[in-house]
Subunit: 336 residues, 2 copies
Amino acid sequence: MSDVARVAGVSIKSVSRVINDELPVSAKLREKVKSAIATLDYIPNPAARSLAGTRTFVLGILFDNPSPHYTIKIQKGAYKACVETGYHLRIDHIDSALGKDFLIDQLSALLRHSRTDGFVLTPPLTDNRLVLDHLDRSGLPYIRIAPVIDHGRSPEVRIDDTAAAATAAQFLWDKGHRRFGLINGPAAHGAAANRRRGFLERIDQLAPGATVMESNGDFSFASGLAAGRDLLATAKPPSAIFAANDDMAAGLMVACAERGLQVPRAISVIGFDDSWIATSVWPYLTTVHQPIEDMAYTAVRQLLSREVDEPSSIELDYHIVERDSVLPIVLPASSA
Amino acid sequence: MSDVARVAGVSIKSVSRVINDELPVSAKLREKVKSAIATLDYIPNPAARSLAGTRTFVLGILFDNPSPHYTIKIQKGAYKACVETGYHLRIDHIDSALGKDFLIDQLSALLRHSRTDGFVLTPPLTDNRLVLDHLDRSGLPYIRIAPVIDHGRSPEVRIDDTAAAATAAQFLWDKGHRRFGLINGPAAHGAAANRRRGFLERIDQLAPGATVMESNGDFSFASGLAAGRDLLATAKPPSAIFAANDDMAAGLMVACAERGLQVPRAISVIGFDDSWIATSVWPYLTTVHQPIEDMAYTAVRQLLSREVDEPSSIELDYHIVERDSVLPIVLPASSA
DNA sequence: TTGTACGCGTTATCAA
DNA sequence: TTGATAACGCGTACAA
């Protein structure tokens, strides 16, 4: 940095000002410094910056055993935002299944050791009050991705899971389907409850009093297979089933195959997420696309934008990706 | 740190010595310092350490678009090793598909910006001489996971892909199979070539002159589906097929279903990797387990163990995970 | 609007 | 085997 100052013919502090976009700097001086930085190919030393200053230039993301597909997309989005802003990304995994006490221990250790400027929380950590309380007490800024509880408690980035599931219901309805099945996600996962609600409410609007056959899973392939077998083991199975995520939809498709029900000719399937597995099954899965990568990107940018006072809530768009697992059916005359 | 020195009644430099395991320290002094550290719950400041010293306490892992499953396992293993050693993990993604010049640009930027103490290279970057040359010139230590070319050029951690594929061949043979199919990975991926060689050589040993039907894929589900259709579109299809990874095996299983060939009753399938998708298909996939997580763990530990002079090569074990996609067949009398 | 002096917490160098 | 002191490269506080 002193080299830059010499080349630019200014003080070392002015260089610092330019780098940090501090205010009282004339345009002329800024230009001089910038060109000196360019010619010297100067890169600030983050260690020195964080030692002298208050920032660490490190951001943390907290995961709690989500699917690899989800994790990777989150990381990609967050990474992109970090590169753009000169930040580094630290990735930490917490296991909430190990019990409350242990969870607290993990969190404390993490907060003590990882000098970060903030955290990004992913589901289902986003809805874990133990974690939120701990974070609040630490005073570190954080942002939540797709939270369901305690809106307004912290900045957040999300999609409207309820509306998205309603769109899936509408989509199936518009294709002529009238007998529906629904495979739910785990109770602990707030978004799963919203997806259920959105789907059921829309069906009820379209055909008041209609019944939707439900079965519960835990977002895993195996649970989708089991739930599918469950749903299909009736005299008059649904003509279309909505699974609350793609992994369960994949399991469901296997259950269909076992019963000799061809997807989509005999039965239609729609998933949620648009994850890797959506194109690792046959036929390719029609599903609700969630902009996971973009959510993470947005979360990081938001977290870094010099903290606003009131917690922001950014809502991103979803859309249905129409592949090959849903087919329109001709309405029998009796349908209503 | 000065607090620790005061409490322990020693100089600040002695504390530093204990923390860094430097040599001339008496046992007594070491104990005093350690207990002081414990009572004060002291944690060294990495920023100060890297500013004053030569280490950055950051390790980088380089990825080039592998599957999410693979990436996640690598990260988990590496993360564990980093936590144990007090290091931080930086994850970087390079895209080698964008052309040589661009690749070099990405690499240069990465090396200049990311102050790291070393890098872990994952396939197919491990076998990219452009990358290796660049890294060698930078002088930064690095270790390769599962390299195929230029052994001895750098430390490495790997499994014996050739032997592992031979084991798969032997496994199928022992189950009574005599007509084999083989779905290869992409040409650019060195390990894929080794798997092919191992499989073919073993079959040739067991039944000299036997022919194995081959088809080529690129490690993707879609390519496995296409290769499977290819292999199955003959008068006398194989009774058992080895796919060079699990994603292609999943595609192959769909191709089987299309033909009305039940797995494993009509046709047996064995994969490679034991990835997430192995239990996201039905029946669950019998596959060769690769200790990916452990390889990454070992790589980081090895990289951090104060650099040895001659490049080490650590070989880990593989084994077949027997699930439900391979069935023994009764030998027809005519088989040989 | 710009510059000066100091200190952040640690390691390196050298002396004891 | 131990200790004193000077860096490391930058931001903060304050003065100009």
